[in-house]
Amino acid sequence: MNNEEILIKKIAKQDEEAFRVLYENTSNKVFKYIYGLVNNKETAEDIMVETYIQVWRSAKNFKGMSKVMTWIFGIARNISMSEIKKQNYYNFDDNENLNNKFTVTPQQFQLTAQVEIDEIMQIALNKLSVKHREVLDLIFIHEMSYEDIAEILCIPINTVKTRIFYAKEKLREILNEMGVSKDAFF
């Protein structure tokens, strides 16, 4: 049993100190994950409050079938998705509305031709749909394995791989629309 699992056992017995330690160990990652989904600090903080209240309430139901972090991410994701639907932020599968938030036309882009690859990619990543973006966030920010991602998103591992493939294709498409040639990265 690892340290986080011991903490969860204690939280299940209403140990507030254990809860505080778990919060301190995990809150940064959880906040970054939620922020990546909702893209708004205040909303992300509200969701984080709800997430940890749910962790406190559900600790007794944690069976140790998954990692504690994966379990918390799963809770955070469920609450975030409800919030996204409630606030009608943008369609989960569609990046049309999200595009409006980060619009950069090819003309504008050419004006800043000297921008670095990381900046170009940052803009393109921000234009991805939540569905594609979250899977990449989990790999590149949270360093999750495909098994953990499958558990958080409640999908098979092969679907995770397919989603990564399509996320890459979509990114290429977005970069192309931005006027960035395929050779720019080589």
Binding site: M121, K168, F186
Partner: protein
Amino acid sequence: MRSSKNFDELRSLLPLYLKGSLPEKKSKSLEKALSENEELKEDLKFWEAVKKGYQKIESQLPEHDYRIYHRISNNIKTQNSRNAKIWKFFSLHPKFSFAIIIIQTLIIISSVLYFLSIEKEFKTLSVSNIQAEDGVKINVVFHEDAKEKEIRKLINEINGRIIDGPNKKGLYVVSIKDKEKINYTLDILRKNKIVVFAELAY
């Protein structure tokens, strides 16, 4: 020559390889494939660019407010004290708990009794509880202006006997002894102006 399935599998591992989270055996297998395959190399370059993009994103992610823990903690404490108050109330007032249990039990028992008492059957016009009568039964409804004298006369004419009725809808059950004359009797009844309805009862 690697199979397409194997190639796709290796290709799907590139992001994990870049993050250094791939087991050694798989890493080596991927490195070997990378040295042989240009397409795979291109993909790796692309993922390297994605990784750089993420480094940029990560450096710009906001920090969460340190007071959030107090919000969570206060919420949990409020909930705990609310639950504790409810339990305290019931444990300090056991009579109240028993009263609730008794009321609930009474509601359940009366509901069960009520549902058991509801008659579950269909009623039709021909229903009659008369079982001991021989012969054939006919359902008859007379005109509302029909006089008793006229009804008696008609019943005598068909050599029948009123054995039930009238019910709320004005239905009489008339019995005739001779089964063979049923069609003739129905014909007489239907042709009479004081009869509204005449049908064999089943």
